[in-house]
Amino acid sequence: MKKIIFSRYTKYILLGVVLALMPTIQQMGFIRSATITTFGTIIFYAVVAIGLNVLLGYSGLISLGTAGFMGLGAYLSTFLTENLGLPFFVSILLAVIVPTLAGILVGLISLRTQGMVLAIATLAVAEVFRIKFTQWDAFTGGFSGARAEFPTFFGFEFDRDMTFVFLTVLLVLLMIITDNYIHSSVGRAFLTMRVSEAAAQAMGINLLKYKLMAFALATAYAALGGALYAHFIRFSFPDSWNLGLSLQIVAVIVIGGLKTIMGPIVGSIIVFGVPAIILSRLPVIGDVDGLAFIFNGVLIIIVVLFYPNGLVHIATDVKKLFRKKRTEV
């Protein structure tokens, strides 16, 4: 039993160690400083994506409100630390709880009927948020944006690299926690619901309760990701929290791999890392706005049609292919 648990967590911890070493590697001069920022971005978007995967991957429900709830988390945490002077830890907790409660309210209304009503209701909610973000200057700073600081723990101020390590630790913890409940009666209920709502009901699974739970989880992770965004990028614009961002998060989990914990990080590297690190350096076309969007859009469609399990499985599939060939020879 010990062995199983050990091997199940190993990959998350390994990933964490590699990521946490990056600032040191950067100081030694092997990678650019901007790469750390890019990877920080990859991490908080991966946090959001892990949450959306609980909803879309495991439970088969679509939300288009991800960016809206991220924005709410970002502005709340900024407001609470900057304007009210609350401790970082308290702010981030409130910045997760409040959007989650809002999400539960939306879910309570929209999850009672067909699945796609959630997608449409969250689309509407996100649109309302987007407009409110631009109108509500006192809270969001309007078009001039809202500025936040790096986290502070008990009077100790983090710099960028420490914040990066903090993000990494949080990511690994979330991966382990998510892995735990996905492999319990809760996760099995999600999966059963996804396969067949009738079978789930016959097994005593209360559909509304578990759909609501999945949506609340997705919302909480999104809000957390938003709050982390605020304290790592240290600036939030109302225009950032648009439908395009929600779609990019969907792209992260579809490309990385639905129903996996590692998929979101792989997807996040492809969706947010590749455009920033590789595409933007291409001659001529690299400067063009929208190239990343086309890249991700095309990739989503290709993956859904031809490799529905996601790119996280590529390594094992290639291995399998080689093994097969060897035995054939």
């Binding site: 209304i109 449409i120 649109e127 109108q135 779609l247 969907v250 792209a251 969007f293 529905p308």
Partner: protein
């Protein structure tokens, strides 16, 4: 009283835009079981085509509109042939995800091809208005309402009274049976995508003079069109259209008499509450799920 009628007229105009967009979405939903979230993006893209045609070739407005709708038609055919047709075996959730991919492609392409500066598209009729019940309504507004009603009239006539309309309705009710009966369902689906794209583009072009032609121009229209579909019910073609007009009207009234900043959220909230009590919408029939 004149303000009230003014609001009713502008509500009808907005309603026409929502109704055209909603009709496009429901036609695709009914014929290929796909909730097409890319309706707005395709409309936006081809509205750009019309605008650029107008600016660069200096053609009359109606020619530009025609060009935009024709490219939209082609876009619909292309999307169906290249993508949707290959996705027949994937789940409905996966199909929705594919439409997300389509949105990303078009919103990525638009700034590359047309630039990032917002463009403007003029009204069909630049000036002049009609005084009715003390309210003044522009000829352009009247034209928009008339175009909306005319196109929907033609489409409903087509659906109810022609051989092709019958094929669409049969495919909508059961595509497997329709195929067995010799209905060319793949042609029907392709036609649905083409017509939906053209409808979405027309909605975008009618909406364009109120705002400006930009990547996000259709987001608000798309939200309202989807809300109209939820409100009107997924099971009929006319339900969402009626709902779109109701939303157009009540939105304007709420924005004016209620709250200019919270009118829309309140309306969405009310509609979502409505479907808690009537899950199948205004016109929906109760469907018995087979288990």
């Amino acid at each position: 009283m004149s303000t009230f009628f003014q609001l009713i007229f502008s509500g009808l105009e907005t309603g026409s835009i929502y109704a055209l967009a909603a009709l496009g979405i429901i036609i695709i939903f009914r014929t290929s079981r796909t909730t097409n979230f890319a309706q707005g993006a395709i409309g936006m893209f081809n509205c750009y085509v019309a605008t650029v045609t107008l600016i660069n070739l200096e053609v009359p407005v109606w020619v530009a509109v025609l060009v935009g709708m024709l490219t939209a038609f082609a876009t619909g055919v292309f999307v169906d042939l290249v993508i949707i047709r290959r996705a027949q075996k994937v789940s409905s959730v996966a199909k929705q995800i594919i439409t997300f991919g389509i949105i990303m492609i078009f919103t990525g392409l638009a700034p590359i091809i047309f630039g990032t500066m917002p463009l403007s598209f003029p009204r069909f009729i630049l000036q002049g208005s009609l005084d009715l019940f003390g309210a003044s309504i522009s000829y352009n507004g009247l034209l928009n309402i008339a175009i909306g009603l005319l196109i929907m009239g033609v489409l409903f006539y087509f659906l109810q009274h022609t051989k092709w309309g019958l094929a669409v309705r049969v495919t909508a009710s059961n595509d497997a049976t329709a195929r067995l009966m010799g209905v060319p369902t793949s042609m029907v689906t392709m036609g649905a995508w083409a017509i939906a794209a053209a409808l979405g583009t027309l909605a975008a072009i009618m909406h364009a003079p109120n705002i400006s032609v930009g990547v996000n121009m259709m987001e608000n229209v798309q939200v309202n069109a989807f809300i109209a579909i939820v409100f009107g019910g997924f099971q009929s073609f006319h339900g969402p259209v009626i709902a779109a007009y109701i939303i157009g009207l009540s939105r304007n009234l709420l924005l004016f008499y209620g709250s200019s900043t919270w009118g829309e959220p309140i309306l969405y909230g009310l509609i979502l509450l409505f479907i808690v009590f009537r899950p199948n919408g205004l016109i929906g029939k109760k469907i018995v799920k087979k288990v």
